[in-house]
C-alpha cells in the first residue's frame, strides 16, 4: 500500500485548507478533489421511482423474498436509466412499441357490465402469462391489492368483475403481489405523484342517471 502524506488526508478530511498545504502537495490535493467529485457525481441522486410503493406492496403481500419469477417481473418493470445514442434509442423505441402493442392489438379495455344497486360491474382483463397471481388495486379498494383476478383456462389472460360506483376511477394491476403495472388498454392515465401513471376508467350509470 502506498502511504499518503498525512497533510493530504487532513485536507481531504476538511481539517486543512488548500493554502495550508505546501506547494508540492497542492497539485495532488486538486487531483483528489477532481477524483472525489467524479465519485460523488456518478452516484444516484436518490431512490428509483416507485421504490416506496414496491416496498409497501411486498410488506402487504407478506414480504417474503421474491421468487425467481417475481424477481424477473420486478427486473422487467423496474424503472431504470438507459443510456443510448439517439439513433439506437429510436430503434429500441420502435422495437418496444411493436413488442408491447402487438399482443394487445385485440384486447378490449375494461368492459361495463350490469348495474346492481347503483353500482356497475366492470370486467377487467390483463395479460400476464408468467404471473402466479394478479390483483387489482385502485381508489375503489383504498389502493389495497385485495381484488383477485383469475386465469381460469391458463391462457395468461387474467380477469375479474368488480362492482364500481359511477365516476372516474384510478387503478393498477399488481403482479405476483409486488409489481404494480398500468393497464395498457386503459382509456387514459394520470400521474400518481410517484412518477408512474395510474390507469383511468370512467364508469357511467347504465340507466344514464
Amino acid at each position: 500500500m502506498t502511504e499518503m502524506d498525512p497533510r493530504l488526508h487532513a485536507y481531504l478530511d476538511g481539517e486543512l485548507r488548500l493554502e495550508d498545504l505546501p506547494p508540492e502537495l497542492r497539485g495532488r490535493a486538486v487531483g483528489w478533489d477532481g477524483l472525489l467529485d467524479e465519485v460523488a457525481s456518478s452516484a444516484p441522486a436518490g431512490a428509483p421511482l416507485g421504490l416506496d410503493r414496491r416496498v409497501m406492496a411486498r410488506i402487504r403481500a407478506g414480504s417474503e423474498p421474491a421468487n425467481r419469477i417475481s424477481k424477473w417481473c420486478d427486473w422487467a418493470v423496474r424503472p431504470r436509466a438507459i443510456r443510448v445514442s439517439p439513433l439506437a434509442g429510436l430503434a429500441v423505441a420502435a422495437a418496444l412499441v411493436l413488442a408491447v402493442v402487438r399482443p394487445w392489438a385485440g384486447a378490449p379495455p375494461p368492459s361495463l357490465d350490469t348495474e346492481v344497486a347503483g353500482r356497475v360491474y366492470v370486467q377487467f382483463l390483463v395479460e400476464a402469462g408468467a404471473a402466479e397471481s394478479v390483483h387489482l388495486a385502485g381508489d375503489f379498494s383504498d389502493w389495497q391489492p385485495t381484488i383477485s383476478l383469475e386465469d381460469y383456462d391458463g391462457d395468461g389472460i387474467w380477469s375479474g368483475r368488480v362492482p364500481l360506483e359511477p365516476g372516474v376511477h384510478e387503478y393498477m394491476f399488481v403482479i405476483d403481489g409486488s409489481e404494480w403495472v398500468p393497464d395498457p388498454n386503459a382509456a387514459g392515465s394520470r400521474d400518481d405523484g410517484f412518477g408512474r401513471q395510474n390507469s383511468l376508467l370512467a364508469v357511467s350509470s347504465v340507466s344514464g342517471t
Partner: protein, 187 residues
C-alpha cells in the same frame, strides 16, 4: 391529504403509529429514508438492481423488527445500520471480484465534446472498478464520507463505530484507491 399530514410527524410518532398498525405511517418512513439508503446501497453494491433488492429487504426487515428499535427518534439511523449490514452481507455472498456489468463504461454527462465524454466515462469506470475492489468496511466508510458527505461524527453515530476507527478506514481506502488507480496523478 394523509400524506401531507404524515410529513409533519416526527420519526418517533411515525414509528408509534406504524406499530399501531398504520401502513401509511411506515410508508412515510420509507419515503423519508429511501434516498439515503438507496444511494448507499448503490455505491456499495455497484448495481442499481442489487441496490434496490437490498433496500427493499432492509425496509421489510425494519418493518418486521420495528418494535425492537430502541430509539424511534433516530429510526433512520437504525434503518441505515440494517441496510449497511445487508450491503456487507451481500458483498460477502457475491462471487467473483465484484465488478458488475452495470459498472461498464456508458456515456458520461453530455459535455458536447465526444473525446472528453469518452475520457470521463473511462475514468468513472476505472474509479468504480477500483472502489469495488476495496474491502467492504473501507468502501462503506469511503462512500459515507465522500459520496454521502457525512462527517466522521455522523458516520460514527450511524454505524456505531468510533471516529478514529472510521478515519483509519477512510485513509486506508484512499491509499488503496491511489494504488489501484496507478497513481493517476493523485499522489
Amino acid at each position: 391529504m394523509r400524506e401531507a399530514q404524515a410529513r409533519q410527524w416526527t420519526d418517533a410518532e411515525l414509528v408509534s403509529s406504524a406499530l399501531d398498525g398504520s401502513e401509511e405511517a411506515y410508508a412515510e418512513l420509507v419515503r423519508r429514508y429511501q434516498d439515503l439508503l438507496y444511494r448507499h446501497a448503490e455505491r456499495m453494491a455497484g448495481s442499481p438492481d442489487e441496490a434496490e433488492d437490498i433496500v427493499q429487504l432492509a425496509f421489510i426487515k425494519s418493518y418486521r423488527n420495528l418494535a425492537t428499535c430502541q430509539n424511534p427518534d433516530h429510526v433512520g439511523a437504525w434503518m441505515f445500520r440494517i441496510t449497511a449490514n445487508a450491503c456487507k452481507d451481500h458483498l460477502k455472498s457475491r462471487r467473483g471480484d465484484g465488478i458488475r456489468i452495470d459498472d461498464a463504461p456508458g456515456l458520461a454527462d453530455n459535455t458536447g465534446d465526444p473525446e472528453m465524454e469518452l475520457e470521463r466515462s473511462d475514468m468513472r469506470y476505472r474509479i468504480n472498478s477500483a472502489l469495488h475492489r476495496l474491502p467492504a468496511d473501507q468502501r462503506e466508510a469511503f462512500v459515507m464520507k465522500h459520496v454521502e458527505g457525512l462527517s466522521y461524527q455522523e458516520m460514527g453515530e450511524l454505524l456505531g463505530v468510533s471516529v478514529p476507527a472510521l478515519k483509519m478506514r477512510v485513509h486506508r481506502a484512499r491509499e488503496d484507491l491511489q494504488e489501484l488507480l496507478g497513481e493517476e496523478g493523485h499522489d
